[in-house]
């Protein structure tokens, strides 16, 4: 490391102009994409319990097979017979979404549930979305992950295991019982129910 990375500065209150007015991405997976459909409603809430109406959420995720559309994800590129053989990217898959929050602090995404991707010591991670939050009042983005409550793989996930039991709940999206395929994920920036954020 020879150079020092450029400091972050807040996205400010007018980021819509450059990032979401014409370049928001609600639909991460279109109806043709393979996988279990997920309709996701996120909310961002501040330390006073007040919805944050000027945040932006970015999501980065793997496809249903657990592969990222990225040159450094080499799963399935070789035929050495490991358990990643056959993982492919279906062509329209990109895996990125971003939306600004509305007055009530909410934003929505349409996607598919990602597959399991390898993690530390090559153990498979539980299905998760990688989430970054930007806003006025945030000098740098916060990173978190969204897992799916009730997924049996959560109990063996190496990243969830780093988080104290009593705070793991904050990383779990909850299913909307009346609407199959719909999930809710609240992000609390601080307070009693503060979401676990990661130093990546």
């Amino acid at each position: 490391m020879d150079l020092v990375p450029t400091p972050s500065q807040t996205a400010g209150p007018y980021f819509h102009l450059g990032m979401t007015d014409t370049r928001s991405v609600k639909c991460i997976a279109d109806p043709q994409t393979k996988g279990e459909r997920v309709w996701l409603a996120c909310r961002v809430i501040d330390g006073d319990g007040v919805p944050v109406p000027d945040a932006m959420i970015e999501i980065w995720q793997a496809n249903a097979e657990g592969k990222y559309n990225h040159p450094d994800d080499t799963q399935g590129d070789d035929t050495t017979g490991d358990d990643t053989q056959g993982k492919t990217i279906d062509s329209p898959w990109f895996g990125f979404g971003r939306m600004p929050t509305l007055e009530d602090g909410s934003c929505e995404f349409e996607t598919i549930k990602p597959g399991r991707v390898p993690g530390p010591r090559n153990a498979l991670q539980a299905p998760h979305l990688n989430v970054a939050i930007f806003a006025r009042g945030m000098l740098k983005q916060l990173y978190t992950r969204m897992y799916f409550a009730g997924d049996p793989a959560n109990s063996e996930d190496a990243v969830l295991a780093l988080v104290p039991q009593e705070r793991r709940e904050s990383l779990l999206a909850q299913p909307v019982v009346s609407h199959p395929g719909h999930w809710r994920f609240d992000i609390h920036l601080q307070g009693e129910r503060e979401t676990v954020f990661f130093d990546v």
Binding site: Q9, G18, Y68, D72, N122, M138, L139, V159, V196, F197
Partner: protein, 240 residues
């Protein structure tokens, strides 16, 4: 090594040096007080989830996306500027195909945004948003006008120094950077808590572009250089 062929050992990205990035909580910037976590962050090992990210090599950039002075029928008012620079990683290697998005106020210090109530005129010939991609050498360039300073409500008589917002997608989700580029010699630096939030003075200075006679075009526009450094990777894969 044989048994390692199926192991996916990933080169870890460098962490940033202490003081080189702003903290989440910086009380003089009041909006951080209720929007910053109070619990320590959980340090993540870098897995495929962190080291991958949206790569924009094949994006189409529209003809006027990188020229904010040509997006309307007439020309915007203000000092015409050419902003150029390189996006490098912290090992000094160019980051090609990085998507850069910019947005800014017009010459009077007013954003074309419904929440901007600053009583300064909008310019019908200026939107204030653009984007471009870095080339093979990590170089980028766009044309705009110099934004004005503008008042905000953080404290009594608070004014932001003139700046252009930058959003950069590098190679990984963890190298994602949103920042602001400032102009040399701005008298407002000392009073701006957003700029002052970066503890290390040297790191802070890196957000100030440099006037550049080389890229200044005679009889046409002033040139400013702004290089952007993103986090880079260790030379050798981390065997975990």
């Amino acid at each position: 090594m044989g048994h390692l062929t199926n192991e996916r050992s990933l080169a870890q990205y460098h962490r940033t040096p202490p003081g080189s990035q702003p903290p989440s909580l910086y009380e003089p910037y009041r909006a951080t007080i209720r929007r910053s976590p109070t619990q320590p962050l959980t340090v993540l090992p870098h897995t495929l989830s962190e080291i991958t990210g949206p790569v924009y090599g094949h994006e189409k950039i529209g003809e006027t996306d990188n020229d904010l002075t040509r997006q309307h029928s007439g020309e915007p008012l203000g000092e015409r500027i050419i902003v150029s620079g390189r996006v490098l990683d912290d090992n000094g290697r160019p980051v090609p195909h990085a998507l850069i998005e910019v947005w800014q106020a017009n010459a009077t210090g007013r954003y074309r945004h419904k929440n901007d109530q600053h009583p300064a005129p909008l310019d019908p010939n200026f939107t204030g948003a653009g984007r471009t991609l870095t080339d093979e050498n990590g170089s980028y360039r766009f044309v705009s006008i110099k934004p004005g300073a503008y008042p905000w409500f953080n404290h009594y008589n608070a004014w932001r120094p003139a700046h252009i917002h930058f959003s950069i997608f590098g190679r990984a989700f963890l190298t994602r950077l949103v920042t602001q580029m400032y102009f040399p010699g701005d008298p407002l630096f000392a009073f701006d808590p957003v700029f002052q939030s970066i503890p290390d003075d040297k790191a802070r200075q890196r957000l100030i572009s440099k006037f550049d006679l080389e890229t200044t075009q005679p009889q046409w526009a002033l040139g400013f250089r702004f290089d952007i450094i993103l986090r880079g990777r260790d030379a050798t894969p981390f065997e975990d």
